[in-house]
Subunit: 595 residues, 2 copies
């Protein structure tokens, strides 16, 4: 295939930058569209900055004109010419007032017809687009996303570098440690039978950097979790990872708020008001049924326990007697959307996530329909409606159970209903700190207290005396940053006392031998002096997704994997040859292809 | 262990920033040294910026004085006080003119005596220091290295971002591809029997980003190679990875030179003259016996073939008859250092790397000693010495063989001798481009031509016609950047023609089926239009090592691995439990612990 060579011709500017008539420019890019009118040819040439129109007319050298006529979509061209004003101005294009009268044209690469057109909007199914990811990435919205993601990471580095953070790279091949999810493992060739693990986060290394006196650390770090993928997960993801010394919770929150402000100003030219709102974990759970509430809309949870405590309805009574609660959300003016059928669907959903059922009041007609009307004494329904500030048109959804059930179930229904009712405003960015997480969580199965965070989190100063005597009372120096209902970031002040650290590992159920084998080096480090320190990890992919209002993480990752953790373009993972496994001292005992 | 809490006391500046008397400051850090004079206590407090002296005297509150008296090395303190001028000024310290008269002191962490002292210079063996890496990293030289490495990466981002490069993250879990070294593999849990590989470089992805029209890509990317480690290798290393569209070799060289200039100015405040010197591969081999010559000293190779062609010395004659050469280096004034014994050592070294032997002339006494004197006709020795411009005191080392042997052997001896003679100047940075690499390399074993670079490298335009007819004549659009004899960077213009690309894979010995299975997606991509593109990867670790004049990569990597690819601090790699392997569908067939 003989193509033109660039030889000495070099691009002088990007397509989107061609706006000044009279200049001679050289532009390069992909053919978006060819319009051949016989004696006139127009080619829309596209690069990552936009599109410019190339024009060929009866003044054009015949050889060049013929070459232009031979071009098709996605051919790669380099074109030189004088910029001229266009006869018909296209106001939708940055370069719509001009065109390039081409006097030198190089066809650098031909293209066969792509499996889908390179257009901003597309109806092509995602699977095909992922297989040809390099073509999908030619589409302007994805190019925009990657360029904006670059800017987000840049803003993070600018801000934290200016605040004395130093970027330090920590190992990707590390020791397998239990951090909540499953590790990806790497068999060692030099040490057969032993394995490295990919980091779930640089947690231990960044803490050791504080012990090493590096004072303030940042890394935009790749992290890996071998989990079954949900829609918003990738097996590898990126974290703006931070750790700093001589700080307490408040210092970290303030610094992070400064970052949020800087970031949104820089990237979206938007002013975020700081300090950001804060809410304790308990308040978030009681008001929104979630530790990552989306506060862009109301529909808060309301506690009906007092109002219905004397109602002789078994479902309510048994919940209250067991120390639980009866709680409700009110969907205003929702009766026409939330039909009985829709409420049945919500009931199924509620059951699917642990509720025994869903009670409701639907006020569509003159009189409200109440699923538990027959248990209510005279006037009780009115009392409930009045307590909930209901009016005609509203729908009330009620869950009665232990708080561990009522709160999250109503929290989930709240989100579901808001989507159905289209209550969530676009273009709004609601940040929220969640603070004062409980330190321990009672584990019914093992009948002991589990650490609710990773085992490196410090208890609040004032709770230190209750660690043994009253674990339920202990709250953690832990905090989450939530944006529009997405958990962007999780952080804490770390334990720096080796005795407390050992105790936390024991609380995780590790034996002394296991602690020594897995974390001995970390515990030992705290014998040699450690400044108080803490930090957080900000999910870069999620941050980009929410900021860019993308629908999926796949829209802000260059080469994403799909739900079953495979990459469709290169067909990875893939089998490897026997020799490769042999030198690693392993063999495959079970293969999916056998099935 | 009850320690003081920080409570509301916060650091106001770093230790190294305390210089102005009269101010009240709060500093935090590690105790470097305590000097207790009874009624006076001085504590040197250290953080990453330097050391400041804390002073406690008879004005000091007794409780604080007692606390100060209880401190030992590596305790972590937070201290508040007024900065005062010192009575005895220490000119070696940035803060040597002042001290802090402490009026509030928190002992935040105690420390037991570390296994080695935290001092700039250390004689502690490296193994112990790597086990306690978090302590070794407290030493100022290593802190300095990490901070400078941060600055180097920052300068790279600044420069390339300013030149329209966008940072894009490519996958770490990818398909295993033959890129020269062995891949690290990751067994898949979801797809038992299949594996991901860690990237040896983002090569394929960055090329696909060019096909995707991203135009200019940068990533400071972690790369992985499962090789037997030499002194200057790490299993994971970092590359300033670049790729750009619509460019040829010259564009990349110029842009890179701009970076080198910017980097050295920014980080070392040093002016590097550009354009950087260039040398073809062939010239480098003939003059220095290396494709990464250290040009900080001379001692170039000299060709004696003509001079000795009529000498009846079997070693010379058979080399010349086989199309080889007789070449020499001259170590000036080296006769006293390069004794017969030393020359014997060099001979062993030469043999170890492929030479049959080493001939020499050593001119120590009035008359030179020549190892092949008996084969020389009258006057020939003088002719040789004159040809080599030798004088009394010089030593000549001669190798006769095929060029494939003479050149690299003398290249290696040149370096060895230069070290012995201490010829290599410090503080000098000699850059050199090596260009016009041969495209193919004749493989004696397989009796066909191998690609000398990775299989994505483009031949020079003018060589395209000879690809089939005269492979030896083809040179590549490939280039290396060498700094002080270290290969910093390797780059090329890539093949964008799918027919040529397939041909290159075939030349690698891949069958059509293998090409399809491993690289099908890449070859297919070139069917849809690809701009001409090229790029390079600059080894960040090596760059930092050479710039900072560190002795080892381990001195510029926070948590390095040792030669057998293990990390001594965390004892990694490590065994994992059976369940972890079971879900991956693999088992260990050979364990080093069995041996």
């Amino acid at each position: 295939m003989i193509m033109d060579l660039m030889q000495d011709l070099r691009r002088t500017c990007y397509c989107g930058e061609v706006t000044k008539a009279g200049e001679t420019v050289v532009v390069g890019g992909f053919v978006q569209k060819v319009r051949n009118l016989g004696n006139l040819i127009f080619i829309d040439l596209r690069d990552r900055t936009g599109i410019v129109q190339l024009a060929f007319n009866d003044q054009t050298d015949r050889a060049i004109f013929e070459k232009a006529a031979s071009c098709h979509s996605e051919y790669v061209l380099l074109a030189k010419g004088v910029v001229a004003e266009r006869s018909s101005i296209n106001k939708d294009m940055k370069t719509g007032a001009v065109e390039v009268l081409v006097d030198d044209l190089r066809v650098l690469s031909k293209a066969q017809t792509p499996p889908f057109a390179i257009t901003d909007e597309t109806k092509t199914n995602e699977e095909l687009r992922l297989k040809y990811r390099y073509l999908d990435l030619r589409r302007a919205p994805l190019q925009h996303n990657l360029m904006m993601r670059h800017k987000i990471a840049l803003a993070a580095r600018e801000y934290f570098y200016a605040n004395n953070f130093i970027e330090i790279e920590t190992p990707m091949m590390m020791k397998s440690t239990p951090e909540g999810a499953r590790d990806y493992l790497i068999p060692s060739r030099v040490h057969n039978g032993k394995f490295y693990a990919l980091p779930q986060s640089p947690q231990i290394y960044k803490q050791l950097l504080m012990v090493a006196g590096m004072d303030r650390y940042i890394q935009i770090a790749r992290c890996f979790r071998d989990e079954d993928l949900r829609a918003d997960r990738q097996p590898e993801f990126t974290q703006i990872d931070l750790e700093m010394s001589f700080v307490d919770v408040e210092d970290i929150l303030q610094l992070t708020e400064g970052f949020v402000k800087y970031l949104f100003q820089k990237v979206l030219h938007m002013d975020i008001t700081t300090p950001l709102p804060r809410m304790t974990y308990q308040e978030a759970m009681e008001r929104y049924g979630s530790d990552k509430p989306d506060t862009r809309f109301g529909m808060e949870l309301q506690d009906l326990s007092d109002t219905v405590k004397d109602v002789d309805f078994m479902v309510f009574r048994s919940a209250l007697e067991a120390g639980g609660s009866v709680r409700a959300i009110v969907a205003k003016n929702a009766a026409s959307v939330l039909t009985r059928k829709e409420i049945d669907k919500l009931t199924e959903k509620a059951k699917g996530i642990g509720a025994k059922g869903l009670a409701f009041i639907r006020w569509n007609d003159e009189k409200p329909t109440c699923s538990f009307a027959k248990f209510l004494p005279e006037g009780k329904l009115d009392e409930i409606l009045s307590r909930l500030d209901c009016a005609k048109g509203d729908v009330v959804l009620i869950v009665a159970d232990k708080n561990k059930v009522t709160l999250p179930v109503l929290g989930a229904l709240r989100l579901e209903v808001a989507k159905k009712l289209d209550l969530i405003p676009e273009g709004k960015f609601n940040f929220l700190w969640i603070t004062q997480f409980p330190f321990f969580e009672w584990n019914e199965d093992t009948q002991h207290w589990d650490a609710m965070h990773h085992p490196f989190t410090m208890p609040m100063d004032e709770c230190l005396p209750y660690l043994d005597s009253d674990p339920a009372r202990v709250t953690a120096k832990a905090f989450d940053l939530v944006l529009n209902g997405t958990e962007l970031s999780s952080g804490s002040i770390r334990i720096t006392d080796y005795e407390l650290q050992e105790k936390m590992f024991q609380a995780l159920g590790l034996t002394d031998e296991e602690i020594e084998a897995k974390f001995g080096f970390l515990v030992e480090a705290y014998h040699y002096g450690a400044p108080p320190h803490g930090g957080l990890g900000i999910g870069l992919d999620r941050l980009a997704m929410v900021m860019l209002q993308a629908e999926s993480l796949r829209d802000v990752v260059a080469f994403p994997k799909v739900q079953n953790a495979s990459e469709l373009m290169s067909a990875c993972p893939a089998p490897v040859d026997a020799e490769s496994l042999d030198v690693l001292g392993i063999q495959v005992t079970h293969s999916e292809d056998d099935e």
